[in-house]
Amino acid sequence: MEQKKHIEERIELYLADRLTLDEIEDLWLDIMKQPEYLDHLKINIALKELYKNEGNKKASSYNYYKPWLFAAAAALLLAFILSFFLSFSSPAILTLNKIDLVEIESPSMVRSGSEQFSQGDSLLNLAFNSTVIGDTDKALILYNKIIEDPQYNFYYAKAHLNQGIIYFNQERFTEAAQAFKTAIIWSNSDQNIVEKSYWYLGKTYVGLKALPEARESIFRTYQMNGHYRSEAEQMLISLDSILD
């Protein structure tokens, strides 16, 4: 019999909407048996809320890559340097060009030549077509259709990643970051998806001017030693020159 996961892990998965209904009921039973975990659940939720509400305006205070608290003056200085850097002398590597549509993920069988097409594949293709012809609103709706339907969970990672690309190109960086992070969660360790998501998540953080977070994501891309390693290395050098 599979050993029960640690309650902290189950709370984490619960809040990420990754437990089944039975698992949720089981978690609540354990919380009811051990009431101190209700406070744990509340604190976990409150932390996420706190971050959501304040994380954007105080990003440097909540990043995990550098020490927790930057001095206010240092943060202001960093923001100034960053805005100056990005506005006037940004090296090509930190310039946020739009993501090429060739990066949009399509159903795997298109590449493998398989003739079996599921409804999920069709939706991905329809969304891709909409993106290519510039109807990104429709593409986002189609990706949402995939994301909201449990029968398409196999395609969640690709749908989130592709949504992230659209948001990024629309400079909706907060939404793009969330989409790329969710793509990683649903990637089921698919190296291509994970690497691509971290790479564009890093660029998204640059767009959000959250450079420590950008560095962390780009560093992860670099570590994966895949398609983006060389570009990631260059970007790390650029980021370090600003952050150091």
């Binding site: 996961k5 640690h6 309650i7 902290e8 892990e9 984490e12 998965l13 619960y14 809040l15 990420a16 909407d17 990754r18 437990l19 089944t20 209904l21 949720i24 009921e25 609540w28 039973l29 919380i31 009811m32 048996k33 051990q34 009431p35 101190e36 209700l38 406070d39 744990h40 659940l41 509340k42 604190i43 976990n44 939720i45 409150a46 932390l47 996420k48 809320e49 706190l50 971050y51 994380g55 909540y62 990043n63 995990y64 020490p67 927790w68 608290l69 992070k181 990683i184 969660i185 977070e213």
Partner: protein, 189 residues
Amino acid sequence: MHNKKPERPDYSELVRATLENDKVLLNKILESISDTSIHYLLYHMNSSRADAEDCTQQAILDTLEKIKALKIKDPERIIPYIKTCCRNNYFRKVRYNNKLISNDHFSYLSEPPNQLEDIMKSEESEILKTCLESLNDNYREFLTYFITFPGVDASQVAKHFNMSVISVWSKKHRIIKKLAQCIQNKMSK
């Protein structure tokens, strides 16, 4: 959030207190059972607070009757019984109120808690911030990783922080417990 640290109830004590009609002990044990049951209905079943309180009260009364009638002898069965009663009472209430019970209703039961705005009052949220700042850098860095990557796999966290997978959840548990204690201490002042 409680003002004092909730204790793990001793459910064999609940049986004894019920049979001996020890109201002081009963109230003490039932307080935390009632609180978690209400939150179960609030967060998981998306009930209103009034419905949650009604259903929980009825579930507890039913359970005490069963204990008195010696129909629940195993203390381990008490909480599952209360939980089932709460759930059934809530559905009964919804039906009685002619509210919608359909597949749509059940579908959102699997969603994460959505009454987030109700979870912490602004005062508690401020205390949480203060408690966060009292944590050491290592703990804050660790917590922030989870916030940045919701639902992250333990193996990823373990790799990032160079620790074992088992230690990941123990450490998170330790930090959240520390925060809970900090909040309780500050609120009781």
